[in-house]
């Protein structure tokens, strides 16, 4: 392929990915059954956790972050982005069952663009979630020493977390094509969440969860958000968060592309 043809192809696929991302975003924001888990449920949990378990910050080993809500908001963002990823999987399974997916497959576009369009749309939702949840936390009394830069880094980490979750959701949807199975995966989001230091520091997790948290890439992303928001290396590593986030996105998107190829071969 000549460099001109390659450039033209990339521009076309860029437009395709943008159009599919816009569709993902638009439909997700129009459907209450998608909005409630991705936005309302994390906020409810934030309110419950912040008021019901705030005494946890008195425990020895709990880092000083001012308010407990400031500490747990990273966990809330993580929860929201994981649920957005699950919703992305549900949307893909819905497209497969409803026949819309065939419309995408019958268009002259790269199969990877179909996955990337959905992932990009979910990343944008993750960014909106992060801005909303951080704003709510500020209203609830949180004080983020990291300032605007810390929030911007957190929003970017949320985008990575949502993208990785969307890649995983897409993989399962493409492998199974089953809407009902996707809907039943809801509890697994909480397994992923509680095996990462979403609501408590790693040192206060029980030994089994603490061991699992070491291999759970979400641990590094959530700690990275916390480190960015509080501008504190003691809470985690921002760059470690980005490394884990980018690695997870690449891995889950590769899995989704593989699942797509397997689906088309069958």
């Amino acid at each position: 392929m000549s460099s001109f043809a390659l450039e033209r192809d990339l521009a076309t696929q860029g437009r395709v990915i943008t159009a599919l991302a816009k569709r993902a975003l638009r439909v997700q924001l129009r459907r209450a059954q998608f909005l409630l888990p991705s936005f309302l449920l994390p906020l409810l949990l934030l309110a419950v956790v912040a008021s019901g378990t705030s005494a946890a910050q008195q425990l020895p080993g709990f880092p000083n972050t001012g308010s407990y809500v400031g500490f747990v908001v990273s966990g809330t963002i993580m929860q929201g982005t994981l649920l957005a990823g699950l919703m992305a999987g549900i949307a893909i399974a819905g497209d497969i069952e409803g026949g819309f997916f065939d419309r995408l497959l019958s268009a002259p576009i790269h199969r990877v663009s179909i996955v990337l369009g959905r992932v990009l749309g979910t990343a944008l939702i993750g960014m909106v979630q992060a801005i909303l949840f951080v704003s709510v936390a500020l209203l609830m009394g949180a004080d983020f020493k990291g300032g605007v830069i810390g929030v911007v880094l957190t929003v970017l980490l949320a985008a990575l977390s949502a993208s990785a979750a969307a890649g995983l959701g897409a993989t399962i949807a493409l492998r199974t094509g089953s809407l009902s199975l996707m809907q039943n995966l809801f509890p697994f989001v909480f397994v992923l969440l509680f095996t990462a230091p979403a609501f408590f520091p790693r040192a206060l997790l029980n030994p089994v969860l603490e061991t699992i948290s070491v291999v759970n890439p979400l641990s590094y992303v959530v700690e990275g958000m916390r480190a960015a928001l509080f501008d504190s290396a003691a809470l985690g590593s921002v760059w470690g968060g980005f490394a884990a986030g980018i690695g997870s996105v690449v891995f889950t998107c590769a899995l989704a592309v593989w699942a797509m190829r397997s689906r088309l071969r069958s």
């Binding site: 076309t12 437009r15 395709v16 943008t18 159009a19 599919l20 569709r23 638009r26 439909v27 129009r30 459907r31 497209d95 409803g98 026949g99 819309f100 065939d102 419309r103 995408l104 497959l105 019958s106 268009a107 002259p108 576009i109 071969r265 069958s266």
Partner: protein, 329 residues
């Protein structure tokens, strides 16, 4: 059966299918050695009951499914080796208008434009043109979940036309539509065909195939069992019939004996008779004269051309609206 070998060899065919097979992992042979050729500018009706292999064939021709045997090309491109070029050349409207209910008609058309490589401004312009063409301007900015079945089908057709395809594949485009919506869609398809678009249409409706198709292929259990123009297929049933209705029902026995010289006579309900004759409509005058000379009064005489329904029963042994036992489509 009318042979399709001549047409299959046609050099200017837009769709060429040779020995096409699709066997599923369950062992089900959904498509079993299909050969067909569709010329440029033709409307080809692919007729068969549910599960006969129609949709599987369309899915292969539209690159959504790989064949397990044989070859197929569309617009000069191999459906397996040159799938991307095939997708650029075709428009597809699959069964049950798969449209996102939470998008508007305009949004869907613009998305389809982007999927086919149109720039944003081009997509918007094309969406406006197509909304007008399918008479959906007033509903363009409403969510799809407020559209009727007929409106969804029209939008589905418009989406298939966004990139001005050479070949249009329509899988049961009017299933579930009321007669008015069906007729409006047929008018639009004829118009498209007049503009030069080749149309490959699957249907369970014999009337649809008769109304629209230049040629019809009948598929049953994954094999083409007959192919030709509706008129050619009609001849498979045998000689056309003339229906004669008598005023006096009691005269039917005498009339049957007298008319035997014109062809094979069979009884119909309420004193009617059917005479099968190769002369068709030209036999009307001698038949009426024979009955008049015998002073038997005739109420009506009608020519009965064989329908595709008759053809279907003749070549498959069952009706087109009966499902095949194993659903292959």
């Amino acid at each position: 059966m009318i042979s399709n070998q001549d047409s299959a060899a046609s050099a200017d065919a837009t769709i060429i299918v040779e020995g096409l097979e699709r066997v599923y992992s369950s062992g089900l042979r959904a498509v079993d050695g299909v050969d067909l050729a569709v010329a440029a500018g033709e409307i080809y009706g692919f007729l068969g009951p549910n599960g006969a292999g129609k949709s599987t064939t369309v899915r292969i021709l539209t690159t959504l499914l790989r064949p397990t045997g044989g070859h197929a090309s569309v617009a000069g491109f191999d459906v397996v080796k040159q799938a991307s070029q095939v997708r650029r050349s075709i428009g597809v409207a699959l069964q049950e208008a798969a449209l996102d209910p939470l998008m508007t008609g305009r949004e869907l058309l613009e998305l389809q434009g982007a999927l086919h490589g149109l720039r944003r401004a081009e997509s918007k312009l094309r969406a406006d043109e197509l909304l007008e063409r399918v008479d959906l301007v007033a509903a363009a900015d409403r969510l799809l979940n407020t559209y009727s079945g007929g409106m969804r089908r029209r939008l589905d057709l418009a989406m298939a036309l966004v990139h001005r395809p050479m070949v249009l594949f329509l899988d049961e485009p009017t299933t579930g539509l009321d007669p008015v919506s069906r007729s409006s869609l047929w008018t639009e398809l004829r118009k498209l065909n007049d503009e030069g678009t080749t149309i490959f249409l699957t249907t369970q409706y014999l009337e649809e195939a008769e109304q629209l198709a230049d040629r019809v292929g009948i598929i049953d259990h994954g094999k083409i069992v007959a192919e030709g123009t509706p008129q050619e297929l009609g001849r498979l049933v045998g000689e056309p019939g003339l229906y004669v209705k008598l005023i006096e029902q009691s005269e039917s026995g005498r009339a049957r004996d007298l008319l035997a010289v014109h062809g094979a006579v069979s009884d119909r309900e309420a004193g009617g008779l059917t005479i099968r004759t190769s002369l068709g409509a030209r036999a009307i005058a001698p038949i009426v004269r024979t009955l008049d000379e015998a002073q038997i009064e005739v109420d009506a005489v009608e020519v009965e051309e064989p329908t595709l329904d008759d053809v279907f029963i003749a070549v498959t042994g069952h009706r087109a609206d009966e499902d095949v036992t194993e659903d292959a489509s």
